[in-house]
Symmetry: C2
Subunit: 337 residues, 2 copies
């Protein structure tokens, strides 16, 4: 690092250029409202370049009463999903020259409130409250002091706008892919049946079967622990059926990972003997399984971006409704169907 010389300020630039500070401000911010001579303009620009002037964002924020920041609160930054939301939100925010302050809280209400408090002290212009799995959440009351949007979760009382994945269409899409491959007997390994993901994906599964004129057979539906072991056990049971499925829709990729083992241990081949489709598109699993896993992607980055869209609309005074926006879950074709 170079020594800690006093930073160059706008005054230094003004002095060197032989103009007033306001002139410098106008030039540097391209304020067209005031007309300045090209000569002045050039002198200022030259002076700034020569001194290596760098604006002080904090001072500007103070003067403008506008921080250009949004705060993003999420549980466990280390969850693979949270990161995609962050990325999507960050890229979208950048378009508006807004930046993201990020706080990770281990889903501890107190830590969350503290993080939000800190954000408010930084005068963030809006708050994104993101969850790592789709569900109803309780947002700390303090969040109401600033525009807030929920991502991958929603307020049970509908007090905040929210962005969530379209689980149902995703479930339908997965099932339809299996149907398109000629399967008529399709097993479904679901998550804990109470969570929104399970409810939605199951609806989608039913939608697709119904559209295809296939009767729903309860025997083919089974819930398991949302892990590889859970998937293994569930699929093992499914394959033990008198009339076993020829294709299996696993409600998440981790369970699909277990499904692979159950299928392979019987000497069956994927997708030749049994086709498998997952949900979530957990890169690390889906892309590296052998064969690679066809799955439905959760649109985290897009949800993050949509969250910022909403925040931008609210702060611009264009929107104030708190409805829940749904984002499409695209199918990712790989080699397991």
């Amino acid at each position: 690092m170079v020594g800690k010389q006093r930073a160059v300020t706008m005054k230094d630039v003004a002095d060197l250029a032989g103009v007033s500070r306001s002139a410098v401000s106008f030039v540097l911010n391209n304020r067209r409202s005031v007309a300045l001579s090209d000569d002045t303009r050039d002198r200022v620009l030259d002076a700034a370049a020569q001194l290596g002037y760098r604006p002080n964002a904090g001072a500007r924020a103070l003067a403008q009463q506008r921080s250009d920041w949004y705060g993003l609160v999420t549980e466990i930054v280390t969850a693979p999903f949270a990161v995609e939301i962050i990325k999507g939100a960050q890229d979208r925010a950048l378009l508006d020259h807004k930046y993201l302050l990020i706080a990770s809280t281990e889903s501890d209400a107190e830590a969350e409130a503290a993080a939000i408090e800190r954000f408010l002290e930084q005068r963030v212009e809006g708050l994104i409250y993101a969850a790592t799995w789709h569900r109803a959440v309780t947002v700390p009351e303090i969040a109401r002091e600033v525009p807030t949007v929920l991502v991958n979760c929603y307020d049970a009382e509908g007090r905040y706008p929210a962005v969530v994945p379209d689980e149902r269409t995703g479930g339908r899409r997965a099932t339809e892919r299996l149907l398109a491959a000629g399967h008529r007997r399709i097993g479904f390994v679901n998550l804990d049946p109470d969570i929104p993901a399970a409810v939605g994906r199951r609806h989608g599964y039913h939608d697709a079967l119904r559209s295809a004129g296939i009767d729903i057979d309860d025997v083919l539906e089974i819930s398991g622990h949302a892990t590889a072991d859970g998937g293994f056990t569930a699929v093992d049971a499914l394959l033990d059926l008198a009339d076993p499925p020829t294709a299996i829709f696993c409600a998440n990729d981790r369970m699909a990972m277990g499904a692979y083992d159950a299928i392979k241990e019987r000497g069956l081949r994927i997708p030749h003997d049994v086709a498998v489709i997952g949900f979530d598109n957990q890169e690390l699993i889906a892309a590296y399984l052998r064969p690679s896993l066809t799955t439905v992607a959760l649109p985290f980055d897009e949800m993050g971006a949509r969250g910022v869209d909403i925040l931008a609309a609210i702060t611009a005074g264009q929107s104030t409704d708190t409805s829940i926006v749904t984002v499409d879950c695209p199918l990712l074709e790989r080699s397991s169907v």
Copy 2:
């Protein structure tokens, strides 16, 4: 959100409490240098609470000429590893009441420089430049304007302090675990032999064998593409050997994932017939493989924390050396050995 009433300022508190702004500042910041009567103190505190006063962090930073921020630049925020570094750094920074500004750049030099420029405009007190895989990097020159530390990477010319994993000890540890289980013929599936991870892990593998008095057999070492497929192919070759290994050390978990398939397809069992050990501890893989994978963890969170340690020391003027710090890679026992 509640309406946009003008924020309460310190002056409001002072007026309500009937004291000067400086008195409020002293009370709220617990400045003991100036003695104030308990009465004043209480009045201020009451007034602040009553008005719901919230300090303006930006204004304070401006006045104090201290932002309390570090900037963290890293490629691809969506990489599973980057996130752990962020978490570790964030938690450590919080201890000093410092916060992290995070920028994700898709390892594009221009975007990196732009991100750093933004950080400098925010007057960050230090910079953490983190990589998602251990290697030599070229940091944008602009970073030299502020204390900078590299995490999970290093400057080829040693101009910046750096924190990297102790790959060698990690490799030794993995191999020793296999030796402890009684194996004498241990295969090694390495990464691209030129990268620091490969060099270090291989050294460790040799160290352990040598200490155990086992001759190094080149036939047992093989490099593969760092994917599940690469692991599959490599292990397949290893198992085809006339005198095949009874244990395999895979230089990363993704390759171990492929190794599992290669082993299982031959009807062999893990760890009974062939033991497997990985490296990286990619949760999603290692914990969910069947059997779960024993592996060596990359200490990302600790590296992040150490990075902040160094930054704190530099800004406190206590340190100025640019040596490379090495962090231990612990063994994580699961069920594959």
